[in-house]
């Protein structure tokens, strides 16, 4: 196999002076700093030197510190010992079984619940970050009437009075919410409806998934979303569905998908994944074959795919007038699907039900129903109904709405018709919102009755049939808020004490009777609470019989597809997508998510247009002096100024734009970051489409800075960073793809391991290490946020990220492979139109021969007896020699005091007393002027060792796990003791994957304790 050449971004290829300047570990003084010099730094230092010394001596008096014990210590809380509670993350239909770690009664970290059969202990960035949203100062702190504080009693009285009079006058009441997967909350809505029969519950989702429901209704007569089984699929063909990042149930899908992607010497098999899409998505980046297609092409490709498969199964083929799409691989895709009948999966995220029906027809041809698509266990997390929402907006316009209750929903921001809702909402006689803040919708209502954060409330969730999950409070409500379903119960004058007792009675009524294990309800309840989940076990449940549509009806869909999509020319199209960090923008005020670099573009704190190099050249859009060009985007009447980023892999004549940005009233962090793209969505075939045609682009001649991290901390000119091979080669030779590295010496060429200046270390007890499986890693960045939460990593804000001063201890490096061969120098300079993408999580490599250790003048970074490269903050004097000498560029310098610093407003976890509650008390908050880096979660190592010592036993493998490894939904990161033959890491390195293991930059002989497993692509 010829060796591939990798590059990180357009900037590297162009090798502009700016890029070279930025590639250095540390920037020179930024321009702003240069301008501000009134007198030289030396003078300043001279003047300051003495006074600082004098002042510090004078202030040596140690402050009086207080120790304030509990008045009445709760039995189960011991200061210094964390408690863990099983709970559930549910926000806008995103479900995840979680375990919340609390210290002294405050949640500080969220981890996955391994007992949950759906998410199996995986989390994503949003789930990890939600603990910071709990401590958001800008949440509503008390109930309000017309935005002034009032008491719950008075507000309740007024609301009930008004609701009753509306009921008497037969006025229409609407409850507007996102998908509610809590059966008990739904029951409260039913009680509310009983009291006020004129109530309509309107559910909408952003983005909407009802094309799936509609297709299944039309095709099978079942208005449900089935459960997809990626762990049973040998061939996966996805049309724009970002199922590893944002589509439907990404955490569960990543778990399943990675099981099929992992290879070892015992299992040299993996699934094959084709992705056909316009924007380069996270899922596309992980596909074996990614084919850029224009969204208009999707219908015709599907028709042809259907026809190829129909021919193979001797079925009638669909008529089509359009020409066969120029996709060479289509035959191969069909072949692969046909070979894996009942073990394949074809999905699409298209918002047109006609397309989804075609997808159903293809899956039906392949016999996937009942195998990889499970209709017996429908998926409940998306139940939105676009039509019903439309009816509400129409009623609003016609002034037929007497009362509107926004149940944790913010349609003014995240509905395409938000502007209309905002216009007519103030005219509604009675309106209230349970939203957690005075957001775009909540500022327009009469009564704000804020809900608890999910970490403060009791609730339940049923993400899937027969799977129930409990939400339990892990902290007493911080503010004077009230559980939203409890508000509904109170307004319907239901004879219940509170929502907790209601929840218990619901479980007693509905679930307790469905099990035989526990005789009394209390033990059943306690057990469910302890485990966080309850699964109804049903033996021999009848299989759902599926009777598909007659052929003629599929044929009718083809006509629709032709009408709606294919006849339109493949004009410039804006394709909206969701980012894995910010999602649909609900948690936009969470700085951890805002600063998480998008895994593909590596940009944070913004949304922007992505376009291909060819298109950019057409519009003469090129970055200038490291800044991104700004264009004017005309969509109908709207004009938008937005920066452009060149994205390899973007389909020609398409532009990508993320949703979830452009909040106006989301909070200090969220406001005015990027632009809001929800209002741009057009209605196509009864659904809000993410494809916007009839747009015009005009370069504005302006340039702006995007905070892009990929060009920082780069190691150019070095080989042997990313290694990969194909499955076929790997099957023949497990060592395939391993480059033979030699170093020229006066004795001739030698292997790197034969030459060393170092004496090496003894590791008598433990030898900690990480193994990162590049085949499993999807680049989702959950580890980055998990690490940020665990290790008190500060947020620095957009300007500082642009100054290349981000602080993340673990970054996800994204590499594109070049199309050209090694010798084709001209070709190498061109950005690949559709590169292969590789993700590589990069953190401190804990080198055994660490270059940083030898250059530290004060021994602030040293090697431990357990193989850790230790960083002692209190010794560090900030020379930054270590970072300059680090070949992996993983050391981070505290340029500023990020805590208690009013200027760094984005760092909410360290700059207000509420935000500080999220800090991990076992990890130091670093001061200005010190270096920091991944510690391999040394606090967790110490904790685990202590536990073993206290129990007087040997350390077990499962005693310790790092934050990143725990969070990883793909189980791509394995942490363990490489000296322990029973550990998973030992097994991986010595039995399962010895051949695939390699070290980054092996030739410089740093001997890292972090090992990577070579990426295997299932390419032909």
């Amino acid at each position: 196999m010829s060796q591939k050449i990798y590059w990180k971004g357009i900037e590297e290829l162009q090798n502009s002076p700016e890029f070279i300047k930025n590639a250095a570990a540390f920037p020179d003084k930024t321009t702003k700093e240069k301008e501000n010099h009134l007198f030289s730094r030396r003078d300043f230092l001279k003047m300051m030197g003495f006074s600082v010394a004098a002042a510090s001596l004078a202030s040596c008096e140690t402050p009086v510190r207080k120790a304030i014990p509990y008045l009445n210590k709760p039995v189960d809380i011991d200061p210094g010992i964390p408690n863990h509670y099983a709970s559930t993350y549910i926000q806008e239909g995103v479900y995840c079984g979680i375990v919340v770690k609390t210290r002294e009664g405050r949640p500080i970290k969220i981890e996955g619940n391994t007992l949950c059969p759906l998410t199996q202990g995986g989390v994503n960035a949003q789930v990890e970050a939600s603990v910071l949203s709990l401590y958001d100062e800008e949440r509503l702190q008390y109930p309000q009437e017309n935005q002034t504080e009032n008491s719950w009693d008075i507000i309740d009285k007024k609301i009930i009075q008004k609701l009753e009079s509306i009921q008497q006058n037969q006025g229409k009441i609407y409850i507007i919410s996102h998908t509610i997967i809590s059966p008990s909350t739904k029951a409260t809505i039913e009680i509310f409806k009983k009291k006020y029969p004129n109530t309509t519950h309107v559910v909408y989702d952003t983005p909407a998934y009802d094309s799936l429901i509609q297709a299944n209704t039309q095709y099978f007569g079942k208005a449900i979303i089935p459960t997809y089984r990626f762990d049973k699929a040998q061939t996966i063909v996805s049309f724009s569905a970002d199922f590893l990042g944002t589509w439907l149930s990404p955490i569960a899908f990543t778990k399943q998908y990675s099981k099929m992607r992992k290879v070892s010497e015992q299992k040299k098999k993996m699934s094959k994944h084709y992705q056909l899409e316009a924007n380069l998505s996270l899922t596309g980046a992980n596909a074996d074959h990614r084919i850029p297609i224009h969204p208009q092409e999707e219908g015709i490709i599907l028709i042809h795919l259907y026809n190829i498969l129909a021919k193979k199964s001797n079925q009638t083929i669909l008529p089509t007038q359009s020409k066969i799409p120029s996709i060479e691989k289509l035959e191969k895709i069909a072949q692969s699907l046909w070979q894996n009948q009942k073990q394949s999966l074809v999905i699409s995220s298209h918002h047109d039900p006609s397309i989804q029906i075609l997808i159903n027809a293809i899956n039906h041809l392949l016999g996937n129903y009942g195998h990889t698509i499970d209709f017996d266990n429908p998926h409940y997390t998306k139940q939105g109904d676009t039509q019903k929402m439309q009816q509400f907006v129409q009623a609003l316009q016609k002034k037929q709405v007497a009362a509107a209750i926004f149940f944790n929903a913010n349609p003014v921001y995240n509905h395409p018709q938000g502007a209309i809702i905002a216009k007519y909402l103030p005219q509604v006689p009675l309106s209230m919102a349970t939203n957690d803040r005075l957001d775009e919708t909540a500022t327009l209502v009469h009564y704000n009755t804020p809900d608890h954060h999910y970490l403060e409330s009791w609730n339940d969730a049923s993400p899937q049939k027969n799977l129930f999950s409990l939400v339990q409070p892990t902290i007493t409500p911080i503010f004077n808020t009230r559980s939203a379903p409890e508000s509904l119960l109170l307004w319907s004058k239901a004879p219940v004490e509170n929502y907790y007792s209601f929840l218990q009675s619901e479980w007693k009524k509905n679930l307790f009777i469905q099990q035989k294990e526990h005789k009394d309800f209390i033990t059943f309840w306690d057990q469910c609470l302890y485990q966080g989940i309850f699964v109804v076990k049903k033996k021999n449940a009848p299989k759902t019989a599926l009777s598909p549509l007659p052929f003629a009806l599929i044929d009718a869909q083809v006509k629709k597809i032709h009408h709606n999509h294919i006849n339109a020319s493949q004009a410039l199209t804006l394709v909206l997508y969701e980012k894995i960090g910010l999602g649909n923008g609900t948690q936009a005020n969470n700085p951890w998510l805002q600063e998480m670099p998008d895994p593909i573009t590596k940009v944070c704190w913004d949304n922007y247009l992505t376009m291909s190099q060819t298109l950019a050249e057409q519009y003469t859009l090129q970055p200038k002096e490291g800044k991104a060009p700004v264009v004017q985007l005309h969509i109908g009447q709207q004009k938008i100024q937005i920066p452009v980023i060149i994205q390899p892999g973007q389909a020609f004549n398409t532009i990508g734009l993320a949703i979830g940005y452009g909040r106006k009233k989301g909070g200090k962090v969220a406001n005015n970051v990027g632009i809001n793209s929800f209002p741009l969505m057009p209605m196509v075939n009864g659904q809000w489409s993410h494809h916007i045609t009839s747009i015009k682009l005009k370069p504005s001649g302006q340039y702006t800075t995007l905070a892009q991290t990929q060009t920082h901390e780069t190691y150019m000119g070095k080989k042997n960073i990313v290694q990969e091979t194909t499955l076929a080669d790997y099957q023949k030779n497990p060592w395939a793809g391993s480059p033979s590295i030699t170093i020229a010496t006066n004795q001739g060429k030698e292997k790197p391991e034969t030459i060393t200046l170092w004496e090496g270390h003894m590791y008598p007890q433990h030898h900690w290490g990480l193994v990162i499986d590049m085949n499993a890693c999807t680049g989702c960045s959950a580890c980055t946020i998990a690490c940020q939460a665990e290790n008190n990593v500060p947020v620095v804000g957009k300007a500082e990220v642009a100054n290349r001063r981000e602080m993340h201890w673990i970054r996800i490096d994204r590499y594109y492979s070049s199309d050209a061969t090694v010798n084709d120098l001209k070709g190498l300079e061109k950005a690949a139109e559709n590169p292969d993408v590789t993700f590589q999580p990069m953190m401190c490599q804990h080198c055994n021969n660490a270059p940083c250790e030898t250059v530290c003048p004060v021994l602030a970074t040293t090697h431990s007896e357990e193989g850790l490269n230790q960083m002692t903050y209190n010794r560090c004097i900030g020379t930054r020699y270590c970072a300059n000498n680090c070949p992996y560029k993983v050391r981070r310098f505290n340029w500023f005091k990020y805590h208690d610093n009013k200027k760094i407003t984005a760092n909410t976890s360290m700059n207000n007393s509420l935000g500080k509650m999220v800090l991990n008390p076992d990890v130091t908050v670093r001061a200005r002027g010190v270096m920091e880096k991944c510690s391999l979660c040394t606090q967790r190592i110490q904790e685990g060792k202590l536990k073993a010592k206290m129990e007087k036993r040997k350390l077990a493998d499962e005693d310790i796990n790092t934050a990143c490894a725990t969070a990883c939904p793909a189980e791509a990161i394995i942490f363990g003791d490489m000296n322990n033959p029973e550990s998973k890491i030992y097994q991986t390195l010595h039995k399962e994957n010895t051949a695939r293991a390699y070290h980054v930059l092996e030739e410089i002989r740093t001997q890292p304790n972090v090992t990577y497993l070579r990426k295997i692509r299932n390419q032909d």
Binding site: Y70, P764, T862, Q870, D922, S935, A948, M950, K952, K954
Partner: protein
């Protein structure tokens, strides 16, 4: 003082023995006297009983001195195993006890016969042992002794605190005396010279030499050198002492005496500092732990009233932290006390003698490291250390395994 003490104890022991011979309830022969059994009893007593009982003094429950002489063995066994049952059976003595001690229920202990006998053996033994201060509180002489002891402790502290000042002032006085003596002598010589008309030239000679010596550059430089040296030494020492709070003894919001609780009443440290064996924090006891005993005892003391008030007002008590480690250092009590088996006194000093708690050790990094170098790893019976011991013994067959040998000096163990 000491002789008085001895005299009294002898007298009391005689009294005890007399009393002992007069009793009929349980013959002393029934109670074992083997040292091993007494030791077992001691452990049992300290683990289970000290919260409410002492031998010579009433705490929550009655003093247990010679308790075996009060009732029959069967009665005692029954009462220990289930006191409520005995009370409900209408036993007059039990009911009387119950009433006398504010109807406090005694916890039931499921002890075996052997265990109860060993307990009694310990009680019998320690009843004989000595007469503690509290039992003779009524004697005026002893009262004054006690006061003296406490003032002695105060004196000791006082001297410790002001010792340098006293020395300096004494030296100052000495210097003043010397100067005045010198002045007086000079004056006397002058007068003598005038009187006797002795030529001044002769006498000025030595002064001139001295002047010459004083003005010599070598003298200047030497003096300067010494002065600079002294200044540097003082500065360095002063800087090293920054943040070191040894002997720090702030006044606490409630005048809690460890001397009384840990010393005199012999309450185990863990009873109040509950976290010490399981957590990094030993933890300051919450008010409810104080109230375990003080809802009965000394309710009217002004200091105890502060606790009652705090509970009533729902306002936590803000103690002043005495032992402060810098935030950059991680310390875990469980590691040292439970795993390392270090006694509390090793770092906290003679807490049982402290009327006001103070920081006994410097708590500097040098002090930590020093101990890590000297201390053997408590590896016996702990499978976690097996591998380390094996390797260490192979390499250094005769040297014990010190904490420093297994990474006790590594920066990352305490700083992260």
């Amino acid at each position: 003082m000491i002789s008085q003490f001895k005299f009294f104890s002898k007298k009391w022991i005689i009294l005890f023995i007399l009393f002992f011979f007069c009793t009929k309830k349980i013959t002393s022969a029934q109670i074992p006297k083997e040292e091993a059994i007494i030791q077992k009893g001691k452990i049992l007593f300290e683990e289970n009983c000290t919260v409410c009982h002492a031998i010579h003094e009433e705490i929550v429950g009655p003093a247990l001195k010679n308790v075996h002489q009060r009732q029959t063995l069967d009665w005692l066994k029954k009462f220990i195993r289930n006191s409520q049952q005995v009370i409900q059976s209408g036993d007059a003595y039990a009911v009387q006890l119950y009433e006398q001690y504010n109807k406090t229920q005694m916890t039931s202990f499921d002890f075996s016969n052997e265990e109860i006998m060993s307990l009694l053996a310990y009680i019998q033994e320690s009843s004989k042992e000595k007469i503690p201060l509290s039992s003779i509180e009524s004697t005026p002489t002893m009262e004054s002794t006690k006061e003296k002891i406490s003032t002695n402790v105060d004196d000791h502290l006082f001297i410790k605190k002001y010792f340098p000042y006293i020395i300096i002032s004494l030296l100052g006085i000495l210097l003043l005396i010397l100067i005045s003596l010198l002045v007086m002598i000079t004056m006397l010589i002058n007068r003598y010279q005038k009187k006797d008309n002795i030529l001044p030239k002769k006498k000025r000679q030595p002064f001139k030499k001295a002047k010459k010596l004083l003005l010599h550059p070598t003298t200047h430089y030497t003096t300067l050198l010494i002065l600079v040296g002294l200044i540097i030494k003082t500065t360095v020492e002063g800087l090293y002492a920054v943040g070191v709070q040894q002997h720090y003894a702030p006044q606490q919001p409630i005048a809690f005496s460890h001397q009384l609780h840990a010393g005199k009443l012999n309450i185990d440290c863990q009873y109040c500092h509950t976290g010490v064996l399981k957590s990094k924090n030993a933890s300051i006891p919450s008010a409810n732990i104080c109230m375990n005993c003080h809802h009965q005892i000394k309710k009217d003391s002004p200091e105890i009233k502060k606790i009652h008030l705090a509970v009533e007002k729902n306002q936590p008590i803000e103690w002043i932290r005495v032992h402060n480690l810098p935030k950059l250092a991680y310390f875990n009590h469980a590691q040292h006390v439970k795993v390392g088996n270090i006694a509390c006194e090793q770092c906290h000093g003679p807490v049982q003698e402290m009327e006001v708690i103070y920081q006994h050790q410097p708590l500097t990094m040098g002090w930590c490291i020093d101990c890590h170098r000297k201390t053997d790893v408590e590896a016996k019976g702990n499978a976690y250390y097996d591998q380390l011991i094996k390797i260490h013994q192979k390499e250094h067959p005769n040297k014990p395994l010190k904490v420093a040998d297994i990474g006790g000096l590594a920066c990352g163990k305490c700083h992260y």
